[in-house]
Amino acid sequence: YMKTSELERCQGSNIISDCGRLGKAEMMYKNGPGTGVASRQYKQESFEQAPMYVAVMTYLGYGIVTLFGYLRDFLRAVELERCHVAQEKEEQKDFVPLYQDFENFYTRNLYMRVRDNWNRPICSLPGPVFDLMERVSDDYNWTFRLTGRTIHNVINTGSYNYLGFAENSADFLKTVADVTCQYGVGVCSTRQEIGNLGIHEELDKLVANFLGVESSMTFGMGFATNSMNIPALVGKGCLILSDELNHTSLILGARLSGATIRVFKHNNMLSLEKMLREAVCSGQPRTHRPWRKILIMVEGIYSMEGSVVRLSEIIALKKKYKAYLYLDEAHSIGAVGPSGRGVTELFDVDPADVDVMMGTFTKSFGAAGGYIAGKKELVDYLRSHSHSAAYGTAMSPPVTQQIIRAMKCIMGNDGTTEGIRRVRQLAENIRYFRARLKEMGYIIYGSDDSPVVPVLLYMPGKVAAFAREMLERKVGVVVVGFPATPIAEARARFCLSASHTREMLNQVLHHLNEVGDNLCLKISQQKYSSQPDLYNEANFEPDS
């Protein structure tokens, strides 16, 4: 274990740096004299804590709703009120209970009350603007009915449409239509059997070329890529070191594999190094044999926080302790980096240093599916040993062609500059939106490069009110609460897109301003000047 004095001695090295949660209203000053790009990135991540009264009021609100939840459960139990939840038949009441009542307490008593803010039916393309079907509830959200009216041109800040490839104009989709005419829509087989089409091979080569690695393999479903391939890579006797805030697909894959899982604090290199040292020194729990493999699982951009992984430090750690790295670039591929190649380009890191690069096509490419890329031996092994490869149906041809055309567009291979224009437009939108939000006084999490912008709302009442008020003003937002986030940190998550024009962003910001004043959401205590670049320069520690 590292003692504090050892820590101080090691401050100079760029391997050990701590960036745990912030103290009150302080910018994170991460140490780390490193190369300019990498250390500049780290200084821009902030996780500001809310003032104390906000936390107290949040818990007060939850306490009151919980008390009323108990009251309503009591009323339902003594049948003073009709129970809408699933129940057993009369004859089965003496059996072992099928529906565990208390576990659904949160769903029954908190989620149901404000359920109208989720699962909203959309009846158009999820582009920069979309159409919603209006629905009302007569019995406080237990059942809904559609009124028949459509709400047109709602600005979409919730779709993962980072580069704007969710489009339906005929000239962009010409190749997709041709491929559908040639191959049809269903493949009717797995890739191992008879579903390996020429277009799949073309996509594999294109993905490998795009990422700058030897070889890659694509799968029909992004979630299944993670959950079905990790069991093929690690097994019993291996160690997985996974970040605190990893996605469910990674956690599921890790649990399915049977390896030992240890969780390190989010983006905290000290915690990771401590665990690596302990793993290498002590070995497996009882026998103290060395671990067969140590796999570090991280994501490129964490979608609930908007924070970016500290890739160069993790690569240095992995080389020092001889571990493997699994990088899930679901949100970062196509969306970060000067030419859209993901976090490896953002941190100027050789893609060959990352052992397993994984990503999805759902976000920046407007399609569906996932990929795993890396050395040729790895990908060849996965082709025969992975569950998803052996049993999962192959990707549908029009979807494959959509990915091919999107990737060629980003790389510039189709002869236009449309791809690079979109990547630059996204970067500009991100910078502008984040700077304006901070200026207004909202608390925002995450790095300044991430297209995911979580705006903290904290209180459960404000979560529902925010979503409803923004919809009234024709802006569609996604709000998230417990259990996807910690209980006291409910948030609204904005996903920016290259297809959002400056006017749309200004409209959204204008409405955000109004709603923030109505709901008292502007509780940030950091003073941001209107020229954020200037502010950052002033705080940049000079490399001595």
């Binding site: 009021m57 709703v65 009323f68 009350r113 109505n518």
Partner: protein, 68 residues
């Protein structure tokens, strides 16, 4: 109209109260229950203060020997 402004301000404060205590999520009858509980407890506190304040003040003044 000044009265209209006051009414708007008052309803904004009531809205903030609803949001902070999460009463915004509850059904109208639940809000009524909670508000009446709150008002009755607050009313009882005020009434107790009204009844016992003279005695308390006299006791304090007696202690500090301001009045015999």
């Amino acid at each position: 109209m000044a009265l209209g402004d006051y009414w708007k301000q008052l309803s904004w404060f009531y809205y903030q109260y609803l949001l902070v205590t999460a009463l915004y999520m509850l059904e109208p009858w639940e809000r009524t229950v909670f508000n009446s509980l709150l008002i009755s407890v607050a009313g009882m506190a005020v009434y107790t203060g009204y009844v016992f304040m003279p005695q308390h003040i006299m006791a304090i003044l007696h202690y500090f020997e301001v009045v015999q």
